[in-house]
Subunit: 407 residues, 2 copies
């Protein structure tokens, strides 16, 4: 089934200093207008960090990268879409290694300095000849312009309808640094990462321990708080490269705080984009759960609401069906007092003191229809911890996409 | 949206001795051809047991019945559909009490001998006038014939396309006993009970402790192993009445074992029917997880597969997409060795030793298309515990039903 593309969200962010990227179509996907190979190169060795799927059945590129990060000396990330290299046993691992070695030879860097990302169909071996040809093409096209950035981001996509990009700058000690992020993901997206791939690039210098800690923290609060269908993928990976090309020593103190804030914002923007581009989605759900004793409890409640097919279909139908939301909280496994709960939908109070509240159902329904984002605010009345969680609605189109997308 | 009905599964089981039932339409549902009030009466006091939703946000009838079971002296169960009497606070509780008292007065039994069941929309108060009128009608129509049984079972239905009935006989000490079950449920059906109501009647005598223990055990292995959409309801209830009308002392020893077996079979048949009648379902999924160290781990893996929208849409599309099944096991939260896993779909081996296996994809796809039931067998290779779990596929029709079913 051809994926209907949607317009790119503008503006296109700039790459940080010292990075070049390219993407191309190498025949892993049938549609020749959909890129499937991407190469990202740092002109100087970069600190690298990674966060990975918690799925026990994890793909070869995840095993490959996880063994190498955090660390220093990274020069490139080779990416393919159309094939996940998952459930492919020992041959899958040697294929991932071969993909890294090929990219390294083409760019002229050590094989140990290349990380790999794969996404697509599970359980088929990588078509190495196509990947090698594609890597040869992109190695000759590495550049820093907007078109190259968009094409590189497209090379990560599977059923995404548009590339997901994010960028910002921050200043520390008189130096301006740039942060750039790109991601893919539209389904098999569940908490604890999703079939999502993300790459964050910065020209700041970071030591590996800080890079890993801050990436883990940002992912925990953003990518781990997004769910399209609750199905945690085999391939989820977010990589961070920090090459220091903007100058200066590894960040510390306030510089590190500024970086952490920029990183969080980039990850949050990309995570929201993933929910927004959820397969077949007509709404993105922003679920704010507050008033919990712990953050984990808030996440568990938010996640249960985010994954309830009944909540997701209600939003699809613009129906302020608060019973489905309240009952989802009730089966989340978290202990709480139902009569302390307070629910608002798009700002309108729907439930309080364990009983229904009078409200204008037509007006709330209209507010759901009028906006892409639906805001669900649930205050549990039992503490000060909270979470923000993104999800998408469940539409007939999601079913068509996933029933008709054949192995 | 009118519910398209499907043919009743035949034969219609007989009621045990000493029970009479009736159902009617009293205007709780808009469609006059859909019954919404049911009354079940035991001519003599019966032992009663119940199992209930684990949802913290539970409905008034659940609170009402839970306080009264297990026990003795029960004479009637009053049921309404079209309104769940859930999230209705203290008024909901007094409404449930009023419903029980009304039925007791009409039948001429003590108010304390009546249990109540409600299912339908959450968050609206019971229309007591309609319920009282309906109870008056059914109290005058109590009978034991097949038509009355079917009409009574229909009075429990919400989006079910047919009533769910089950029956059998068993013999102990020369006496033949009858077991009868009826249930409803087609969505908001998740593990740990579902928006499902079940009533089991027997003319055997049971002491309350045995009744409760055996009902709990049967429910744990049947109703707790069915999921349509993973959304545990506020109202789930299964009630058991044992009136001893067939004669004999309370069952013990082998008689109790024979009853337990008949009870398990009835519950399993009804649970399977609920999955089979899942909203919009075109397939029922039978998931057999074996080779686990513990039964809870087997259940957790089966439940994660049963609830994965990607697995459910793949079956809808007749796609033997084993990667979705294997990766669902991987994110279930259970620790296991992926390379010991062995997966069969409709009897064909799809995955072994952590790697793909050659198989005839078209033939497996045809086998999915050819049958209502799809069999997923997953052997984890790490123990001797197992579970059987039922689910349904996810279709565009499920989304239409739930997006268009408005509060």
């Amino acid at each position: 089934m051809p994926i209907a593309e949607t317009p790119l969200r503008l503006p296109i962010p700039s790459l940080p200093k010292g990075y070049r990227v390219a993407g191309t179509h190498a025949g892993l996907k049938r549609n020749p207008t959909r890129e499937d190979i991407t190469l990202i190169v740092s002109d100087t060795p970069a600190t690298g960090a990674g966060v990975y799927t918690t799925n026990l059945v994890c793909a070869a590129p995840v095993i490959f990268d996880r063994a190498r990060t955090p660390g220093v000396g990274f020069r490139a990330i080779a990416v393919n879409s159309g094939n996940a290299n998952a459930c492919t046993g020992s041959r899958g691992l040697s294929d991932a290694e071969r993909m890294a070695t090929t990219a390294a030879d083409l760019v002229g860097v050590p094989a140990s300095s290349v990380l790999v990302l794969s996404t697509g169909i599970i359980g088929e071996f990588l078509p190495l000849a196509k990947i090698e040809k594609g890597l040869g093409t992109v190695a000759g096209r590495l550049a820093t312009d907007s078109d190259s950035v968009v094409t590189a981001a497209r090379g990560m996509m599977t059923t995404d309808t548009r590339p997901k990009l994010s960028g910002s700058t921050f200043t520390s000690g008189g130096t301006q640094y740039t942060l750039f992020g790109m991601a893919k993901g539209a389904a098999m997206v569940g908490p604890r990462l999703a079939t999502m791939l993300g790459v964050i690039l910065t020209d700041a210098a970071l030591n590996p321990r800080d890079a890993q800690a801050l990436l883990g923290e940002a992912a925990e609060r953003t990518f781990n708080c997004v769910s399209v269908d609750g199905h945690t993928s085999t391939n989820d990976t977010v990589l961070l490269l920090a090459n220091g090309a903007a100058g200066g020593k590894p960040l510390s103190g306030k510089g590190l705080e500024a970086f952490a804030a920029a990183l969080h914002d980039a990850c949050e923007a990309l995570a929201r984009e993933i929910a927004d581009d959820g397969e077949g989605a007509t709404h993105v759900l922003r679920i704010e759960v507050t008033g919990c004793p712990t953050r984990d409890e808030a996440r568990q409640i938010a996640r249960t609401i985010a994954d309830s097919p009944l909540v997701k279909t209600a939003i699809c139908g613009a129906d302020p069906n608060w019973g489905r939301i309240v009952s989802a909280a009730g089966y989340s496994g978290v202990r709480f007092a139902p009569d302390k709960m307070l629910l608002r939908l798009n700002g309108t109070l729907l439930f309080r003191d364990g009983a229904p509240v009078e409200f204008d159902g037509d007006a709330v329904s209209e507010s759901i229809k009028a906006a892409r984002e639906t805001l669900i605010e649930l205050d549990m009345g039992s503490g000060s911890e909270s979470i923000r969680f993104y999800s998408s609605d469940l539409t007939a189109e999601y079913v068509h996409l996933n029933a008709d997308y054949h192995t």
